[in-house]
């Protein structure tokens, strides 16, 4: 009846085969091939880094030295910029359309690609950002990202604290090569000082946030969030008041102050002059200011002289070490006397040094020439070259136990070792058997080839205050939840027995009370010190002073070095004394305040300053 009845099977077959084709296709897209679901994740998910706040730095009395300042980087995303917004953008950021065109071009070429955001304006202050933030919310393709820069409420200790700056391409690649993926471009990284030393602790741990975005990139829903772990805060051993005074006193001068607590090795103050305001190296003026400080300042204010400048000759303060080694060696006793024979080596007029105490009190050069001669020429033999070689070798070993000639291991980057001349050095300089005591006698009074950094000088004061040992000078006092101080708790002994120190300490006390260091006296406190005047051909001599107080229970050991400050008692001694008075009493007497003001106003930058 109906000849076409079977045609329904053809139609049903077609329908079913379409269903099968779809099933296979879906099976492929959804089950076999994972590419589409990866693409989906790329389309819908976005990960954003969460910047951890950098750790703060406090002084020993919990005064904030380094805090945080939020700054804003403005980013542009070239593909999202709309033509109609350009005039608004130009108004907002105060630039011409041509400039903006260039910015866009830069952001789309080279390393930068148009669909990745790149920095447009760096480090806007909070105030500047507040002005523009209501507008940039409406402009597509422009957004702000908060970064934590540094803030310095006290503006002191710039060298010690160091600075941070945005990571450069080299460092970026290096950190990546070392398996450290913390940084993204434009992140801050510690470059010098504590910022560099404790970078890993200060920076904290980056977090991230994954969220679902809509087609326009707006955040719709947070999927998961790993919060950033804030950087650990450091407490350092510095005393902010003392540091501040030290920087005042060293204003308009070149040199260093290092103050150490002898009983622990904690650094109380570390001044490098000339200094700079640490706030200069923050924010958007960084490059300009950095350039100025680095290139255009002949006094090199960026150098941290206390640890970095190891070319300082110690001068007469070195006589203390010579005396100690000689006593330990038994080549002299406290009663040994020599005549002040100015024919051998220059000296000033003073009473006859018929014992060690008097020799130190008056800083008698010929006396210590003789002491050094006995140390070097101790050996029994006929050949003075051989004897000198042997003597110098022994002497070098002993000197080194006082922390000279090698780095102390302070927790600051770039510490320099200083230099103690040794046999091979003179062999190379003069030739083997071409030198003897008579060639190297300048070492006796801390001149000659010796190089010492101010931190080593302060350490010497601490060794004497401790009667023979020192703790590695250090700056870190405490870090949240970290035990990092262990390595600073070992006593390092010098080669000299404690019993030999009494006479030296008495002598140093005499120096301050009646000798060359009378400028360092403090009423009501027994101070021990030793002046040094480092010879400078053609220029003013350097003024050096090391000291500790109080005499019986030393709480502070200090070294002051004022370049071109003529003799030791002129500038270094009073600076040291003011520092110690302020630290021990907690304030300066009126008399001292006047003195401090006078020193502060003195300008000693010229190598030939007349006094």
């Amino acid at each position: 009846m109906d000849p076409y009845k079977n045609r329904r099977w053809v139609i049903i077959l077609i329908i079913i085969s379409i269903g099968l084709i779809f099933s296979f296709r879906l099976f492929y897209v959804q089950v076999i091939n994972h590419e589409w679901s990866h693409r989906a994740a790329k389309i819908s998910l976005k990960t954003e880094n969460l910047q951890p706040p950098r750790g703060f730095i406090y002084d020993r009395n919990n005064k904030l030295l380094v805090g945080a300042e939020t700054v804003y980087d403005i980013f542009i995303l070239p593909i999202a910029i709309k033509e109609k917004d350009t005039s608004l953008i130009c108004n907002l950021f105060d630039m011409s359309k041509l400039d903006f065109k260039k910015v866009l071009e830069n952001a789309s070429t080279g390393y930068n690609v148009p669909y990745k955001p790149s920095v447009f304006i760096k480090s806007m202050t909070q105030l500047e950002h507040a002005k523009i933030s209501p507008f940039i919310g409406k402009i597509s393709g422009v957004f702000a990202e908060a970064k934590i820069d540094r803030g310095y409420p006290l503006s002191i200790a710039s060298h010690l604290l160091g600075y941070i700056r945005r990571i450069d391409e080299n460092q970026f690649q290096n950190t990546r090569a070392n398996g450290d993926f913390f940084y993204t471009k434009n992140d801050f990284i510690g470059i010098t000082g504590l910022e560099k030393q404790y970078e890993l602790l200060l920076r904290g741990q980056r977090g991230n946030i994954n969220y679902l975005k809509d087609y326009a990139g707006n955040k719709i829903k947070t999927v998961n969030k790993i919060p950033a772990q804030p950087g650990k805060s450091l407490q350092i051993t510095l005393d902010a008041n003392l540091q501040k005074l030290g920087e005042k006193l060293m204003a308009h001068k070149i040199g260093s102050i290092v103050a150490i607590e002898p009983s622990s090795g904690e650094i109380l103050a570390m001044v490098s002059a000339p200094s700079y305001n640490p706030s200069l190296l923050t924010g958007k003026n960084f490059s300009k200011e950095f350039e100025r400080l680095k290139q255009n300042d002949s006094l090199k204010p960026l150098i941290n002289r206390p640890v970095y400048n190891d070319k300082y000759r110690p001068g007469s303060i070195f006589k203390l070490v010579q005396a100690l080694i000689a006593l330990e060696d038994g080549v002299i006793t406290s009663n040994t006397g020599f005549s002040c024979n100015k024919n051998i080596i220059g000296c000033h007029n003073h009473e006859r040094p018929n014992n060690l105490l008097k020799a130190i009190k008056h800083s008698c050069n010929p006396y210590f020439f003789q002491v050094y001669k006995r140390l070097i020429m101790k050996g029994k033999g006929k050949n003075i070259f051989e004897i000198s070689r042997e003597g110098l070798g022994n002497w070098e070993k002993k000197i080194k136990t006082f922390g000279f000639g090698s780095t102390l291991g302070i927790d600051l980057p770039d510490e320099k070792s200083g230099f103690v001349p040794n046999v091979s050095f003179y062999d190379q300089w003069y030739g083997k058997k071409r030198w003897a005591f008579s060639t190297i006698y300048s070492n006796s009074i801390g001149e000659g080839e010796i190089g010492v950094s101010p931190i080593q000088m302060a350490n010497l004061a601490a060794i004497i205050a401790n009667k023979g040992y020192y703790f590695t000078p250090h700056i870190i006092k405490e870090i949240e939840e970290e035990n990092i101080k262990e390595k600073f708790k070992t006593k390092h002994y010098s080669c000299v027995d404690a019993k030999h120190f009494d006479v030296i300490i008495d002598a140093m006390n005499e120096v301050v009370n009646n000798g060359t260091g009378r400028n360092a006296r403090i009423d009501s406190i027994e101070v021990c010190g030793k002046t040094g005047t480092v010879e400078n051909k053609n220029f003013n001599d350097h003024s050096v002073f090391i000291s500790f107080a109080p005499m019986n229970q030393p709480k502070i050991a200090i070294a002051v070095y004022v370049e071109f400050g003529t003799w030791g008692s002129k500038w270094a001694a009073p600076v040291a004394s003011l520092m110690m008075e302020n630290y021990l009493n907690g304030f300066l007497s009126n008399k001292s305040k006047i003195k401090a003001a006078k020193i502060q106003s003195e300008v000693i930058l010229n190598k030939n300053t007349k006094f």
Binding site: R8, I15, I21, R25, L26, W36, S37, R39
Partner: protein, 443 residues
């Protein structure tokens, strides 16, 4: 009255109704999930897509019950009337203000009506009526011409709007006509044409170059060359292996096919270069995977395939879509043409399988229902409905999963659009009504 009502429900085809009902519910849930952005009761009915969809769905069922109550003969006799009314609407709608470049809608505040949806119902009824009339035989040329005019008139009106997706649906009536006696060659020729066209466009889109000896020739020329060789071979086979009495006829059809094939492949060459615009070419290039274009013309398909692929085996779960959801808008047109993405993303491959099985079951069940009729009208009408739904299903899904270029066509029972929901619902309810009285009357 009561008795009669009950007897109708007893005679309604339960599986067909069930498939339709379940698909409608799933469709509604998918629509709800696609637009879900926290539930707020005051917005629910009037301000959300799923609220409006619900109103249309309830309206559809209300009309559906009404249809089940009226006499089938009445429906049959109103066929031409309904067709005429909708054609009139199609003419009027051309003078309405265009939306997105097409004059397809009448607007009534927040609701809109799309007469090109209703014509699917009107045409089905009219065609069934025409072919089932006692006097007409499909083999007559006049009947064929009438049927052709019946189909082409609305097709042209819709082409003017323009709405190429809906126009394409009209080709589904080939199936109906085939069932009623149209030569199977039409299906074969259609299939042959599509195959040749696909290969031809692919060769054009991919700019392939082949070598004959050492001469580089364009892909299409090479394809033509291959076709010729193929035809030559066929000719030789016929010449030596087919019985002489059939030989003449076979050779005639071979010549026809050769001419058709070569002219199609040559025609595509010309059409592709001259008539196609750049965006059409890109669409084909993307479809064939020759070109990946994530931002321009390929954006839709890239996004929709990502959403589909991200569903994996079991999907992300109800209301959990992250690409196709309206909040995210990663998939454009996710409420209308690309709504399948929502299903695929949230229910995964397993959900898709349930969907496809349900849909195929519905289509096949309709054909089975059509085939059991004594009434020719009901049978033809059943085929019409099944064919229309099948084409929508085929073109829409193929587009979403990247098997066809982007053609705007809704997915019945799923896509947003009151006119479509209502039309497809009524089409099925009418079929149910006609089927319910299959034992009572003979038409």
């Amino acid at each position: 009255m009561k008795y009669r009502n009950l007897s109708i429900w007893k005679n309604v085809d339960k599986p067909l109704f069930l498939f339709y009902f379940i698909l409608s519910i799933i469709g509604y849930l998918v629509m709800y999930s696609s637009n879900y952005n926290g539930f707020e009761i005051q917005d629910f009915l009037w301000n959300t897509n799923y609220g409006k969809q619900l109103i249309w769905l309830i309206l559809t069922f209300f009309f559906g019950v009404f249809i089940l109550l009226i006499d089938g003969n009445f429906i049959k006799n109103s066929s031409y009337f309904i067709y005429g009314i909708v054609i009139l609407l199609l003419v009027i709608v051309l003078f309405m203000p265009p939306i997105k470049g097409a004059t397809s809608w009448f607007y009534f505040s927040s609701f809109s009506i799309q007469p090109s949806e209703f014509i699917k119902l009107g045409l089905s009824l009219a065609l069934a009526k025409l072919l089932s009339d006692v006097g007409s035989k499909f083999q007559d040329f006049r009947t064929k011409l009438k049927a052709f005019l019946l189909i082409v008139t609305p097709a042209i009106l819709i082409a003017i709007q323009p709405d190429p997706g809906t126009m394409l649906v009209f080709s589904c009536f080939v199936f109906v006509l085939y069932r009623e006696g149209l030569s199977g060659n039409f299906l074969l020729i259609g299939l042959f044409t599509i195959l040749i066209a696909i290969v031809g466009i692919f060769l054009k889109a991919s700019n392939s170059v082949f070598f004959i000896g050492s001469n580089a020739v364009s892909g299409n020329l090479f394809f033509g060359f291959i076709l010729c060789i193929g035809f030559l071979f066929s000719f030789l086979i016929i010449r030596y292996f087919v019985l002489p009495r059939f030989r003449k006829q076979k050779i005639r059809s071979l010549i026809f096919i050769s001419v058709l094939g070569l002219s199609i492949s040559g025609g595509i060459n010309i059409v592709y270069d001259t008539i196609f615009k750049e965006r059409h070419r890109t669409r084909f290039q993307i479809m064939f995977g020759v070109k990946e274009d994530r931002k321009g013309a390929g954006y839709n398909i890239y996004q929709s395939l990502s959403a589909v692929g991200s569903g994996k085996i079991f999907g992300k779960g109800f209301l959990k879509g992250t690409l196709s959801n309206d909040k995210f808008k990663h998939v454009p047109e996710q409420n209308t043409d690309f709504i399948f993405c929502v299903l695929a993303e949230e229910w995964g491959f397993s959900g898709c399988m349930v969907f496809i099985i349900l849909y195929i079951s519905l289509l096949v069940r309709m054909i089975m229902v059509a085939e059991r009729q004594r009434s020719k009208f009901t049978r033809i009408y059943g085929y019409c409905v099944s064919g229309i739904l099948f084409f929508h299903f085929m073109i829409n899904i193929a587009m979403v999963i990247g098997l066809a270029p982007v053609i705007g066509i809704p997915l019945p029972f799923f896509s947003k659009g009151g006119s479509a929901i209502l039309t497809f619902g009524l089409m099925i309810f009418i079929l149910l009504r006609l089927d319910a009285e299959r034992k009572v009357v003979l038409r």
